[in-house]
Assembly symmetry: C2
Homo-oligomer: 498 residues x 2
């Protein structure tokens, strides 16, 4: 159907009403055709004259459409040959090292990450204008600002007491019903009552930890590990046992199996199965099945933190660990923060066997979530706008990642390694062995760029020669240029350590 729009002579009256200018509508048609594979890398684009005739538009409109597509790195101009659908550069760098399973951490450690992170954050704060290549959300213009604003206006007009009437303890029932329906996509079969809305995914993970541990207990986590989880563990007085994770398949299941034998004091396992932060790995289904089985057999709660699932590059997003859960071993935590709206703090939890206790803890800790954002979300999820948004977001993130991979591959020094992530926005980059990311992140701040040093992602300092990069904005040229500057700086530092 996209093809017919592109090939037949479209009269202006055929076009759908759209608030976008015409050149942008046309660029979007081609963007979709490229995204869906109707137009393939290397395909020749119509000539300007053919484009003008086909769509009945002026030269100015045609030029502007091509300019947008070129800016977004969807097409390339080849001198005297015309425009072609862009061939994504292949990353020329070797894949990141697989973890060395022979050097498991000896003992679970009380996390001391907060002081490390505080020091990094206060360094960041001295450079408020730095270009942020360290964030964990996409840029605001990749989220459906208009549609959510309209949903909020509708919700407020329809239900004027949203702000003044208290909500349901577990969260808005209509929203929970929609979420339960959508969870089938992740392979999760639950009802609305099996869901408790939380203040973002991080509250969900905190509640899960509080439900199944006591201060002093040991919790097995992935290594490298999302620093927010290390902070949560520290604030709850828990010890972290870091289990190696592979940049392609995530947590090393057999290393966990071994640790469960050698550390009988492990009281919970926390895993990000889909698009692990910072690795960008997606755990294969066989690993997911084995991990759930392992925890069930050991009688140890498996806390699944799954906020990135829908950002994975695939026709069908991967399933959650919870899909393999048969006896309530898995506590599933997620949120709409990364995929839909960083300004909304709407997460949810299914507590498995510990659901009632988690409900009690949530009530005692912060009562119900606000009504308004929940109703806005329900309004939005009821339409097909959410699916449309996700498709667009995934396409844009893929494009950003391809550009970024190319820039990294061509500008970082020999000895740099990375495994292309399976979706999302993170690049976990292994710098040459003798480079320190602690030195590097400060040096690049002086150049006006913020990156996350690897030291934030472990309590053991094992990732000091890693950095986490993420795409900052839809201004791909700006990101490109920033990454190239990072690469040049890394090359200088690698050539002259200290």
């Amino acid at each position: 159907m996209t093809q017919s729009i592109l090939t037949r002579q479209a009269a202006p009256a055929d076009r759908l009403p759209d608030s976008q200018p015409l050149y942008r509508q046309l660029a979007d048609q081609y963007r979709r055709a490229i995204g869906s594979g109707v137009l393939r890398p290397g395909d020749r684009m119509p000539s300007m004259r053919a484009f003008m005739q086909r769509h009945g538009v002026s030269l100015a409109t045609a030029t502007e459409s091509y300019r947008v597509l070129e800016r977004d790195a969807l097409i390339d101009a080849r001198p005297r040959a015309g425009y072609f659908v862009r061939v994504p550069p292949t990353a020329a760098l070797p894949a990141a090292s697989e973890p060395d399973l022979a050097t498991l951490p000896g003992a679970a450690q009380f996390v001391g990450i907060h002081s490390v992170i505080s020091s990094i954050v206060s360094t960041f704060q001295r450079y408020p204008d730095a270009l942020n290549l360290g964030g964990a959300t996409a840029s605001p213009d990749l989220y459906p600002t208009d549609a959510l604003q309209k949903a909020a206006l509708r919700a407020l007009r329809k239900r004027p007491t949203l702000l003044t009437a208290a909500g349901h303890d577990q969260g808005d029932p209509a929203l929970r019903a929609i979420i339960a329906r959508r969870a089938l996509d992740a392979g999760i079969q639950i009802g609305a009552d099996d869901i408790i809305m939380t203040h973002g995914g991080i509250e969900a993970v905190n509640l899960a930890l509080r439900a199944v541990t006591q201060p002093g207990d040991t919790v097995a986590v992935e290594s490298p590990c999302f620093f927010g989880l290390l902070q949560a563990l520290e604030s709850l007085g828990l010890r972290a046992l870091e289990i190696p994770a592979s940049p392609t398949t995530g947590l090393a299941i057999e290393a966990l199996a071994f640790a469960l034998h050698t550390h009988p004091d492990i009281k919970a396992v926390v895993v990000v199965p889909n698009l692990q932060n910072p690795l960008g790995s997606v755990m294969p289904d066989t690993h997911k099945a084995r991990l759930v089985e392992l925890c069930a057999q050991a009688g140890i709660p498996l806390i699944e933190d799954d906020p990135y699932r829908e950002l994975a590059d695939a026709a069908q997003p991967p399933r959650s660990l919870k899909a393999w859960d048969t006896d309530g071993t898995v506590i599933h935590c997620t949120s709409f923060n990364k995929v839909l709206a960083p300004g909304m703090r709407v997460g949810w939890i299914n507590g498995g066997r510990w659901h009632p206790r988690i409900g009690m803890l949530k009530f005692a800790q912060s009562r119900h979530n606000e009504q308004l954002s929940q109703v806005v979300l329900a309004e939005f999820l009821e339409t097909n706008a959410y699916e449309r948004h996700l498709r667009r977001l995934r396409d844009r993130l893929r494009l950003q990642r391809e550009r970024m991979a190319a820039a990294i591959a061509t500008s970082f020094p020999d000895g740099t390694r990375f495994t292309p992530p399976r979706g999302g926005m993170f690049f976990w980059i292994e710098l040459p062995r003798d480079m320190s990311s602690t030195v590097f992140f400060k040096a690049v701040l002086d150049e006006g760029i913020r990156v996350m040093p690897g030291t934030m992602f472990s309590n053991g300092g094992r990732f000091d020669h890693f950095i986490r990069l993420s795409s900052p904005s839809t201004d791909l040229d700006l990101a490109d240029e920033a990454v190239r500057r990072l690469g040049r700086l890394a090359a200088r530092m690698a050539a002259h350590p200290d």
Copy 2:
């Protein structure tokens, strides 16, 4: 000025534009005159004819205005004499017992309140249609639904990315600046940076407790104590030491001083100084000063939970404990939940000496609050609508309490005692000694009325012959009738225990 509106001949053109119907605008003028004391109890209201002439309105409008005032118990019709400003009935019951300071609880107890509350809540859930005289907020129509809805619409139009852009870690800076200015009213001198926004007041109290205690520690609380605090203590693994509180002056400071000597393991004190829940007491300034000094000298953090302050009956609302704090001993927690909008989960905390640690815990636990409700609140607080709302809310609550006090005094059995609260919405009623509120609350549920049994307010079962009542709605006749039914039932049960 109010008087001039009432006495001069007002031409319709003089009236301010108002979306309210005319009869209601006029009723509101008289309501304000009565609330402000321009018209005093017993004053004669104008005759219908005089009212029609004075305001240039029809008989229908005049009649309707008087009907509204009569319904709201602001005026009474005396047969053949006309209408008079109502004389509030004096409560005829003896004051509630002062606490017996000789029988201090012997040892701090691990709170086991959750199972008690769960059982009560699940009993409540079997009677979903019961008239709720057990709530902790005023009825929705006492909150400024329209104004908040409009503020939300304005905020969304002005800042369309409110839902999609992440907010500031500590909360919206503009809102915090306004709150800091307003805090001067409570005697609190802080800057915007000294404020962290939280998900309601209960998250603030939880964060305060987490910042200054370890599981197993003892926390001194008032007795009777808000059950939500007992639940929070239980969920954090803390022991509660219940210190007696007086229905007129709140926490017995000398009992606390004694307990600090005998229980060196007390790690924090939690107090609701203004309109204690459930007592409705307001701590005198001298007590506040002494309490802060006592805790400062003992080096023990004093957690102030102050969500009801602005509902106190007084020309000038009472000050917070924090006003007497000179060295950061007091952690001040409050929210807008009870006074402005039960649907919004917007609280804030000043952590005194522990402010940075509380900031870390808040970040690790739930990140920043949502932007939207904060910006709505800032919009609303910037106008004088908040002060207007508070005056109206206090007037209406006072009226409700007067009606309720009269109904209790005339219908509850001998041996019932209560001390009129100093504002807010709670009545803490001491039933005759041999009555059990556990039996009573179930019996009245069968009659379709929900009240809170005293057992929820202590871990020691010391308030089994108490109940907490609150005004359910602006339908004062309905509340009246419900209270009278409660009284009759109590009288029957007192006459025939078991």
